[in-house]
Amino acid sequence: MINIEHISKKYKNADNYSLSDLNLLIHEKEIFGLLGPNGAGKTTLISILCSLIKPTSGSFSIANLTYQKNKNQLKQLIGIVPQEYALYPSLTAFENLKYFGSMYGLKGKSLENDIHKHLEHLGLLAFAHKKIDTFSGGMKRRVNLIASILHNPKVLFLDEPTVGVDVQSKNVIIEFLQELNKNGTTIIYTSHHLNEAETFCSRVAIIDHGKLIIKGKPQELIDQSEGSHNLEDVFISLTGKALRDHA
């Protein structure tokens, strides 16, 4: 589904590579977790896969399509849930969703019905016509998610979709994503919640300093790592305990 070959990325004026010769194959209908400490290169990789930035070298394809040749087709195929809320605060949830749906060419009653269906599913129907700036963090995250799946993407990228939300919101989001996956959506997600990733992801990859350290099914990685009882143990054993502050 997603074939990443020798991707490297060095930002302008940066001393080091954010991604270095990364190779990865993500299969169709997988829930793939990209894990790593701060500054490991997770967001950079997702940004490259969503055509937000260009890699310095290397190539990738999604469903055998590339941005060079099939830009609009690819954009129609993918959805991205960015780390920021990426919504208009002074518009209502419904207005935001209708606008972003329109950008995929969706319109009319069918779009409105879909919006209502998803809002209801994520417990937001009663707030459909309230402005986003009155929403809590968890509510915004859920609207942010709906804005990315209105066009039924085949591949959904999520950059820390559950950061800063309460347990209830997190559960609703995870269940919703699992249902999407059951219906055929490939999910690529980044998170610092390793417990969540352990149960949610079918496979994970741990990246550090822009390099792929390990990949596999969570349980397999736990079993392979001596003395590890969960994914967090594996993660610490591979990336160390040192702080990863960077500016």
């Binding site: 930002y11 302008k12 969503c50 055509s51 937000l52 930035i53 260009k54 609009n72 954009k75 129609q76 993918i78 959805g79 991205i80 960015p82 920021e84 809320y85 990426a86 919504l87 208009y88 605060p89 002074s90 518009l91 207005e95 209708k98 606008y99 972003f100 329109s102 950008m103 995929y104 060419g105 319109k107 402005k131 804005a147 990315s148």
Partner: protein, 422 residues
Amino acid sequence: MHKLMASAYKEFLLLIRDIGGIAILFIMPLVLIVTITLIQDSTFKTISDAKIPILIVNNDHGNVSETILNGLKDSNTFEIILKDTEEIAKDLVFKGEYQLAIIIPENLTSGLEQKVSQNVDGIIAKFGLEEETDSSSNTIIQSKEVKLYFDPATQITFKSSVKNGIDKMVSKIETQSIYKAFQEQITDDPTEAIFETENFITFKEILPKENNKELIPNSVQHNVPAWTLFAIFFIIVPLSINIVKEKSQGTFVRLRTNPVSYATVLGGKTLIYLVVCLIQFVLMLMIGVYLFPAIGLPTLDISGRLPLLFIVAIFAGLAAIGLGLLLGTIAKTQEQSAPFGATFVVILAALGGVWVPVFIMPKFMQTLSNISPMNWGLNAFYDVFLRHGSLLDILPEISLLFLFFIATTLIAIVYNEKKNTV
């Protein structure tokens, strides 16, 4: 088209949700145009209610000083305040309490009469009409000096007009004195009119006519187009802020992953902000037509010119929007876009001739003025408002405004493309 309309609708919603922003967008230009027109109106009026108080120290007390004083009073521009000494008047002016003090020297009348008599006697003697030359004709009469003290803060234009006015008055007094002296020498009958003292050469301003009616420009005809254009160009501030906000709140990142072009996103903004410009324009016209006469200002005459005025407003609006799109695309923060946008509009207005007419600018600034879109817009408005031009007359200006819109928008799109492929 569906995406463009959806983008425009979104912009419309964003705009109407910001009531404070809308109020500023529409009310401030109206306040600006009323204030500026009220201030500038006096410079276009021949009779002004507000007279400028000036100080006079009259050391002469003769006919000449009386004529000067009457001339100043009759001008209806000045309120004459008499002071006793030059020192007092000078202090008051240099402290900035008065704009001007005029010091009329001692014996100005008698000195002028003596000087003129001396000259006339000399001429008469040369013609052999006088047998004996008066001994006084050899006396050297010192020239007299009318002193002017100006407040150092006084504008040069005001100084020049006062100096010219007094110079003209003094010349007229001298001429009349010469005629009077000749009259006295040639005839004993003071009632006999030998010389015609009125000006032989006069001038008349020929104004353009429409339907045999003279079209007299007034402050409103000048101010409304100039300040309307200024207000229209101020749209670049909210527009650039709107774009910067999209970038900072993350919606722009989402749009970049959507199958929608940056041109479509900008197109939606262009449509809505163009409507804003046109509403501003209509409000400005309504102020000129309905409010100005109610507060004692001349009425804005738009009869028969509305379609052309709208054409100019549309193209001026597009040029302003193009600039706003470019600024919003390049600026990273609102702190960059807002002050830059506001200052840049003021610079463009200055270059465009909104404050100072282009023809009195230095040569270099006149050349620069030619590349100011506000100058093109102002010329197009003046063509319609004051020169009664046709569509053909404004075609060069509106073409330039349109090209400016296309160029700035294209640069914004290319810049965005380049910036986002880093």
